[in-house]
Symmetry: C3
Subunit: 303 residues, 3 copies
């Protein structure tokens, strides 16, 4: 059995990632010599190292999965108040606004504003492996310009285990986006699972769905080629609604795929979603979860 | 965030469906003006509108899934007696005969013979979402020439919810098929799951399976290239058999893929299948379920 | 419905297996005339027919799945002591050594050394269908030069059911491989599920992983392009370790895909794995299961 520099497997799939050379041991870099204790979790805590601990892995996992579904990269703004993000997706039809107050997090050591540009591609793969009860720590090392996601057991840093994902902080030029100030005649808070199921059915027929809200019924429709169509209708008194406020009759069309990309992960952390829309106006979804909230705006399609 | 007429996503998959323009609101068409109540479920019930309610979604789902697996389109014959179908698959090696008496259905309002030509492609996607305890209503609107599948909760039309799938009734030219009248020396009624598992194993080896029935054993065999072969044998006294009647020794070969396409969904609605065959004669399967029965004939292959 | 010699389905997938002609009934070959009893399970037991019964299907299934993941073909050596295998994978970076003593098996009738060359391709498909509590019998017919895998219910040959997979014994030229005799400064026995989970995470980042064992911590690291990296670290006192013996600090890099191909199936039959390695030396994994043991050696990669 010879030592091999570049072993190749016969059934190796095409398009696989390039092999990497020279794995750098995260947290045992230049500052730390071999065998030296690098502080809790192996990272030297400096004046320029900031930590944020999420009490449960669940929220972190599903919020960032939803973001990663929409965005390739984004700036997180982390300051003394909390974590904020406001980003437009690459196709420029949706806007997502995230707000997680620092007061609901553990060990929130950020005192000045940090702008953390991150690329989402590998984060998605990491997120899949975060278990609901694990703790997740975000770390920002401003001297090394690196961002860390560290996963601990529910015991936290005392648990004797961590998994650390490190990535460079990148510079992302983002235009300033003002938050839309819109008044809507339709405001419906409904069961999240039902909303996702209705959208998924519609998506079998078309990439576009039509929302029709009347004072007594809410319908979602889609039509495919050849005159095939699907319509799902709920009476306003149905138990799937937690709030139902509609003045008049309103009708708008939206891209269902972006909607599903965003909302599917959110059902893991919220049982309801608030839907607001109007004729030819952006759809607005609001989702409140244990430690914060997210708004999602989606431009209408012209029928 | 600009309003977009044709938004495109960067990672959009190729071969996706064309976007549709102008979704038509099912059941709120020309006859019904905005805001007007369209009768139960939003469809105007006219002299020319016929309804058939399946008491449970389960049978409807799996029978039509089996049909959709075999057929691209077919004529349903619906008359005062019930729902019937007799169709040959596009490769012309199998014949399927469906019979669902109206007496086992709820609200069976059909009094004259209706010939309903339907295309199965999108129906399959709808069927996946029908839950076992939901009610399914078939609707035929002869004036608008449309066929509807409406899904209600188990409360039926009073449930305040419906999902309606509408499609045009199409004109399908089908040759008249006489039902084969064959006498078989082999008649075996056996456990459905076991039969499917044995066929699936054989299908790993070949697209053709050989059935061998003797007075005391029933074997299914398949052979792949390079002399690899699989054989599954049950003694006639085995508990997988509910009926075992074989005179002499009989041996025939059939395409296993068509067989599996048809029979896999049926295991959800029947625990047994009756198998009849003879040397170089079509295989005949009979499956009885709560509200009807289906026969499946499959031409033999010549070894 | 015409009888068809070569039926074709319209949606037939490309690259499907060729249809086979003339399925041979296993165990009812030349020696056995129609209707004659072929001994238990339909195979004539001759002086040259050897049987080995595995008391449970589970071990057989997962060991051979691991082998089939690594190897295309291999020689099993079966003698009066037991079943042995020692094979190098086609890319020549790993060596697997299997040992199953005959004393732990039922009905072990082998008295002389048999060299059984088998090809693994279809075996893998068969293995998927072996249920944990079924019995598996290996049969070697030296006169017909065929190898059989027969699956019975937990009642064994008296169960009235069998599924028999037969394949030709092939002639495989294998170089004699001496078992490596290495002394390792690192010997860690740890939880199998945890080890697989850590490797799977690393595999999201790279095809190469670095193992770093120190006296108080064990880390596995991987790095992808663009400076993204993952590190998982356990303190030596963590409950995932059953044995932790490390002198000094050791560091080596291995291909993670081959590792996972081999080890994933093994978690079904063993709760722990023993890991031994050293700088620039092969990794050695040892897995003990109910009826035997397996060693897996993997050549290091040069960073």
């Amino acid at each position: 059995m010879a030592e091999s520099e570049e072993p190749e497997r016969e059934e190796r799939e095409e398009g696989e990632e390039e092999e990497t050379e020279g794995v750098e041991a995260e947290g045992t870099g230049e500052e730390v010599s071999e065998g030296e204790e690098g502080g809790a979790g192996g990272v030297v805590e400096t004046e320029e190292y900031y930590r944020i601990m999420f009490p449960k892995g669940k929220e972190f996992r599903y919020i960032f999965t939803a973001l990663a579904n929409l965005l390739q990269e984004s700036n997180l703004i982390i300051d003394s108040e909390g974590i904020k993000m406001k980003s437009i997706d690459p196709s420029k039809v949706s806007l997502v606004i995230l707000n997680i107050p620092g007061s609901g997090l553990e060990e929130y050591t950020v005192t000045k504003e940090l702008k953390i540009g991150i690329s989402f591609d590998l984060i998605k793969k990491i997120l899949k492996r975060v278990k609901a009860r694990e703790k997740v720590e975000l770390g920002v090392d401003t001297s090394r310009n690196r961002f860390f996601v560290t996963i601990y057991t529910k015991k936290g840093r005392e648990g004797g285990f961590y998994r650390r994902f490190g990535l460079p902080i990148i510079n992302i030029a983002e235009e300033e986006v003002p938050e839309p100030k819109l008044e809507y005649p339709v405001r419906i808070r409904m069961d999240m699972d039902v909303f996702i199921d209705v959208l998924s059915s519609a998506n079998e027929f078309s990439d576009s769905v039509r929302f029709i809200a009347k004072e007594d019924t809410f319908s979602i429709m889609a039509e495919s080629e050849g005159g095939k169509a699907i319509e799902t209708t709920y009476t306003s008194s149905d138990e799937v609604f937690y709030e139902y406020s509609v003045q008049g009759s309103h009708d708008a069309m939206y891209s269902v795929e972006l909607l599903l990309d965003f909302i599917k992960p959110m059902k893991q952390i919220s049982e309801t979603v608030t839907i607001e829309f109007d004729n030819n106006k952006p759809l607005k979804l609001t989702i409140d979860f244990a430690i914060g909230s997210v708004q999602f705006y989606l431009a209408p399609r012209v029928a």
